[in-house]
């Protein structure tokens, strides 16, 4: 198995994914009600829109959480590679 990884790139990737998560967070900070049309109860379209707003709100929350998780995992992977390198180096220097 060929293994060659630069943790710095993974850290940068984690930052980008985190930024994407923040972009979605930003959407959730503002009230989702702005996506609907309040006061138009008799309109079928308004009702449909309300359903859409609810579904999108739930989806955006899941999406933000998923992106944050990916960002954290990428950052952890980067540090894992660094730790592995340090541990390997320590082993080599202790045994050679």
């Amino acid at each position: 198995m060929v293994l060659a990884v630069d943790p710095e790139h993974l850290r940068h990737a984690a930052d980008e994914v985190r930024q994407a998560a923040f972009d979605v967070d930003e959407l959730l900070i503002r009230p989702l009600s702005r996506l609907g049309v309040p006061g138009q109860r008799t309109w079928e379209s308004a009702g449909c829109l309300q359903t859409a707003v609810k579904a999108w709100g739930e989806h955006l929350a899941r999406l933000a959480a998923d992106l944050h998780r990916t960002a954290t995992n990428l950052a952890t992977v980067a540090e894992t590679f660094v730790d592995a390198e340090h541990a390997a180096l320590a082993l080599v220097t202790a045994t050679v």
Binding site: M1, V2, L3, A4, V5, D6, P7, H9, L10, H12, A13, A14, D15, E16, V17, Q19, A20, A21, D23, V24, E26, L27, R34, L35, G36, V37, P38, G39, Q40, T42, W43, E44, S45, G47, C48, L49, T51, A52, A55, W56, E58, H59, R62, L63, A65, D66, L67, T70, L74, V77
Partner: protein, 509 residues
């Protein structure tokens, strides 16, 4: 089925729909931005190295980009449907007010809950026909309102689609995957931005006519900014996107100026439109994919979307004169290219960042023109003209060695970030400098942007100018303008020089 009454049509609030539409458009834009960050993240992972971890992470991010991309277009569609609803409702209310005013004129009363029209007095012959007409009109208005409501509801429901279970957070409340096989999805179109214009052109050619139509219709914002897409298709995409931007953005004045200019400019192709930051735009006068001679005009400091009218007028003057000097009518295309963010002030103009970024974008744009020309990459004679600070953008593109221009023209240049014309990676005989004696740009100290390009020692051809000041180079009937026209059309022997050496003939593609 909608059970609206006329009373509800009258009390409906178009502004509520319009406001919601803007919110959905903003949501779509934010999701698009998030997807861009993920794209960059995926690229970083790919650069991180090799191994199963990298592969798995890349796959994971690809899935998330796809999931995010699938939400953008549905959100845009909801925004479009709500805007149509707002406009339609406002028009119906206007119509209804007219009918009610007519009824009042005839002394009739209208029951908006039932849609009934009643006369105060006993109905007579002509009076009864008026009542009948009004009832018919009211019926039409109500039917149209119900149709509008149902159409909007259907559009919203279609965009909502069905969540696909079992895919965790990557599943989206967007539409089901298109049932049309081969329909380009957003992630596919978006990924083209990372490829060379020649590769983009090859990809576009590989699509069927139906697939190209889908891409243009579904993702005009992405297709329109791809270098390597033919001018006619880019124009279609960008005009559609411009209409959407004007309908959805909060500050559309500059965009309206662009649309207004296009409306009065025949044979124009909108090759780029972007309202982020100060905005970017490119307009070709004449089809660059079929022209024998194409000139790309790069403007200078302080230019933004609001300047579209004057800049396109300038480009049109140059095209007209250049075209008149050739045998074949319509074989010259002039592109006004504001594809970079010019500095806003003299202080900012000292910085080289905008010219470096602009130079890279310009190089890519010219590659795109070459990739889509009907006679192949060397089929057209391409001249790049930089005006004022724009000349530093041209210089940066040329110094990198990537700018595939046959001739470079600079007018009113403060310097070209170089000591000699050969540093532009072009035979110096194809580097042309126009400098009016009274151009204030001569007061820019040499260390800022490099050696004075109008000096004989710089090694470029300095052509004759008979205009004054910094902005007179395109005065109708002037030698300044005519000389540029001769260069653009490769008629080098007709250019009058202050100093330098004309190339023999032809162009070095």
């Amino acid at each position: 089925m909608s059970r609206l009454t006329l009373a509800e049509v009258r009390s409906g609030d178009p502004e509520a729909y319009r406001s919601a539409a803007l919110a959905w458009a903003a949501l779509a834009a934010a999701l698009d931005t998030a997807a861009e960050h993920l794209m960059t993240g995926r690229a970083r992972v790919a650069e991180a190295g090799r191994g199963r971890t990298v592969s798995a992470a890349t796959d994971r991010l690809r899935a998330q980009i796809g999931g995010l991309d699938r939400t953008v277009r549905p959100a845009q569609r909801i925004a479009e449907a709500l805007l149509r609803h707002a406009d339609g409702l406002a028009a119906l209310q206007c119509h209804l007010d007219t009918v009610l005013a007519t009824a009042r004129t005839y002394g009739l009363t209208v029951d908006l809950a039932r849609g009934a029209v009643t006369a105060l007095g006993p109905p007579t012959g002509p009076h009864q026909s008026t009542v009948d007409n009004l009832v018919t009109e009211l019926g039409h208005i109500l039917a149209e309102a119900r149709r509008l409501d149902a159409a909007t509801a259907t559009a919203v429901a279609a965009a909502l689609g069905a969540a696909r279970p079992g895919q965790g957070a990557a599943s989206v409340p967007g539409p089901r995957p298109p049932s049309d096989p081969g329909r380009p999805d957003r992630a596919t179109v978006r990924s083209q931005a990372g490829r060379s214009p020649a590769e983009v052109a090859a990809w576009w050619q590989s699509l069927s006519a139906q697939q190209r139509e889908w891409a243009l219709r579904d993702h005009p914002d992405l297709v329109g900014r791809l270098d390597g897409i033919p001018a006619a298709d880019r124009d279609r995409a960008n005009r559609a996107w411009l209409d959407q931007l004007i309908a959805q953005t909060d500050a559309p004045v500059a965009l309206r100026a662009v649309r207004g200019r296009l409306a009065v400019t025949p044979d124009a192709y909108l090759l780029l439109i972007d309202n982020s930051g100060d905005g970017r735009v490119a307009v070709a006068l004449g089809d660059p994919d079929h022209a024998q001679h194409t000139m790309v005009f790069v403007p200078g400091m302080g230019t933004d979307l609001y300047d579209i009218h004057g800049e396109v007028t300038r480009a049109a003057a140059l095209r007209r004169v250049a075209d008149q000097t050739t045998v074949v009518d319509g074989d010259v295309s002039v592109v006004y290219w504001l594809g970079y963010d010019p500095p806003d002030s003299l202080f900012d103009a000292w910085r080289e960042g905008p010219s470096r970024d602009g130079g890279a974008a310009l190089t890519r744009f010219v590659d795109g023109l070459r990739a889509t020309h009907v006679d192949g990459p060397a089929g057209a004679h391409v001249t790049v003209l930089g005006y004022s600070y724009g000349s530093t953008v041209v210089a940066e593109g040329a110094r990198s060695g990537g700018l595939r221009a046959d001739d470079i023209v600079v007018v009113g240049s403060p310097g070209l970030h170089s000591d000699h014309a050969r540093e532009l990676n072009l035979d110096p005989r194809h580097v042309w400098v126009g400098r009016a004696a009274t151009d204030e740009i001569r007061f820019v100290p040499e260390p800022i942007h490099g050696r004075e390009p109008a000096d004989p020692g710089y090694g470029a051809n300095r052509f004759t100018t008979d205009t004054s000041g910094h902005s007179g180079y395109w005065r109708p009937g002037s030698a300044s303008l005519l000389n540029q026209a001769y260069i653009v059309t490769g008629q080098y022997d007709r250019v009058t020089l202050v100093h330098g050496e004309r190339p023999a003939s032809g162009w070095p593609s």
